[in-house]
Amino acid sequence: MTTTPRPGTGPSTSPTSPASTAPGSVVDGALRLAPYWATVLRRTWKGGVISALVTPLLYVVAMGVLLGGFIEVAPGELEGATSYLAFVAPGLLAAHVMTLVIGETTYPVMSGVKWHKTFFAMHATPLGIGSIVLANVGFILLRTLVVSAFFVAVLAPFGVFTTWWGAVLAWATQALVIGAFTTPVFAFAAGLQDETAFALVFRLGMIPMFLFSGAFFPVGNLDAPLEVVARLTPLWHGVDLTRMFALGTFELGPALVHVAYLVALTALGWWWAVRRLRARMVV
């Protein structure tokens, strides 16, 4: 070697170079992780864009246009929608967002705590558990919001939004759906010893919710006990709020209940996620 670099000799030998510091807050720490998540995004965005454009098109053509073509009902029976396409479109949006988020918080989180141990690498630095969770959740939120925007943009030409601002609010509602699924599933995954329990999340959580939480038919069509169950799921709250904005059937009372429910679930999931990840990593 021609030059002798002096790595690791400590700040004392290089008084002019900036010293590393502890983050001032959870948010400060999370921002230090932004370059990491930006690098992850740079590596994966191409596939993501194609899927973000094609998936909504497939959904809306198959479920909305083709299947919807067989469905003729009076508007009152479809929660105010004038066509099945208009009814199902906001449901597809929220349900698709749920599947994306669960995908981002199952195997990738397991990788962080077990396979690649990327969370352990982060935690060996001044970053705290809260910052690690916040950065990951923030990444999922931003990325899924972008994908949702594509989804809304693809749906819009089919005339499923009664107003442009309804479309914007339906999109913004996805932030609540993302939060309500991201933090609890992250928490669940962070404490698992292996990935077999993810099958439970998919089969007993995601798929039944996808099919029965009001995305494809009004939950009023279910028998009484099942209808109550459906109305307790986070996806129903997300679907109903999205649909209110899309169809212009907004009602303040129910809307506030939806928002409160989804925010509460996000907060509870957040608390659980930090707790479970800490229990996993600080032993």
Partner: protein, 309 residues
Amino acid sequence: MLIHARGLRKTFGDFEAVRGIDVDVPRGQAFGFLGPNGAGKSSTMRMVAAVSPPTGGTLRILGMDPAEQSSAIKARIGVCPQEDTLDLELSVRDNLYVYGRYFGLPRKEVRARVDELLAFVQLGEKADAMVDDLSGGMKRRLTIARSLINRPEILLLDEPTTGLDPQARHVVWDRLFRLKAQGVTLVLTTHYMDEAEQLCDRLVVMDKGHIVAEGSPLELIRAHATREVAELRFGAGGAQAEHEAVAEQVAGLADRVEVLPDRLLLYSDDGERTLAQVHAAGLRPTTTLVRRATLEDVFLRLTGRTLVD
């Protein structure tokens, strides 16, 4: 003292991993924890790295209590964990860059340090390769480079060469030697006695959560072993009973005799002379070897067991 521990303990449920150890590491020292797997070395290292709260005792890192100021401590230490925690899907350069940013260092500064460290660990040509494509030795060197990105005052290395082939180990040792020469405080765990002998100014021998001896490698060998060792092997099968019988015959020829499953160790200050006496006594070992005593002998003496099973 950069590291100061008194009566440090760590328990996991009923299992006592570390049972009250005292450790002091001054600035600039290369300090080692030597012991077999399960001795409590890694548990100790995790406590020192401020990611594992001690169950009992006192621990101060850089004068700070890890229970109160773990982030401030972690900002000033470097950690090279036993398992590489590199992001396999990121390039070599990106792994270092994003990690540098975790320490709150400015972009430009991190970029400069990345180039410097890649040169230091001889991975400059691999800068844009994916980590997944690196050999085990290269990954280890990258992990070492990563642990230096914040110019740490203490570098913690948990089993730095475990799993590497001999050539890769020597490259890692060479880099660690350079750091040592630059005055970096190194704290390492190892179950390789040659690693401990080469790299450590001072070390503690750990066994079952206790420190059983402490000193420089040379001091430990002087205190717990003789200068030389004659190794004798008898027969292909090397039956233990046969060895026990031979051990009685040679007992008077050495300061001490150890019976291992496959060989006898005769401790004396002149191995060749001891060997000559063995032959003079009419014994005919199939193979013999005279060597300098090592930390392996120290460990055997202190615990009755070998380091690497």
